[in-house]
Symmetry: C2
Subunit: 94 residues, 2 copies
DNA sequence: GGTATATTTGACAATGTTGTCTAAACTAAT
DNA sequence: ATTAGTTTAGACAACATTGTCAAATATACC
């Protein structure tokens, strides 16, 4: 996902704990430049990065994943007439 | 979305009505080769194609969109531990 | 100001993805 | 078997996206 809002959220988490990009980037095995762009919404944040993020930012993985998926869905399908029905249908199928 | 299952579903709809790819492709303004690959899951079906598809296949747009979104979500997030919670949270936020 | 650290920017090569074209393969009917 | 129509496969150029590097900018602290 390339969502500036979620990136900003990650940045807030990081800054509140005084952790530099350098340290997060190291944990995710990416360049600080890439992390900067992720926080700015210019590069995608991969689903597979959430576990490492939760660890290095010391936040609950469950909450982070829920927030990520939820925002991804809204980001992708925002404005679609029957999104709500689609979500209900999806839930029923699980 | 590049989902072979949804492509197969579209193909079934089309064949049940005896409509050739040529006609559907024409309505979507794409090559039959591209449509073939969409039905086989080798090329993405864009959200923006659903309206034209519903029309040319003479199916309910609402149902088609609901099915498309639902399968997209499962396709993208299948296996994620907290998908169900994420869907519930998303619904609450709407 | 000066220095160290942090962050961002722009350029770039590498890679991935797209739709179309042409030709091949398949199907159905006669 | 031939024909006409349909579908698929492979190759390809055009385009988009990616992560990194190096340089530029910003920030904090003395």
């Amino acid at each position: 996902m390339k969502n500036a809002d979620f990136g900003q959220y990650l940045r807030t988490l990081r800054e509140d704990k005084g952790i530099p990009q350098r340290k997060v980037a190291q944990r995710l095995d990416i360049d600080t430049s890439t992390l900067s762009k992720i926080e700015l919404g210019e590069r995608p944040l991969l689903l597979s990065m959430l576990a490492g993020l939760a660890e290095v930012l010391d936040v609950d993985f469950k909450e982070l994943q829920i927030k990520y998926i939820s925002e991804s869905i809204l980001f992708t399908f925002e404005g679609q007439l029957y999104l709500k029905e689609a979500l209900k249908k999806t839930l029923k199928s699980m």
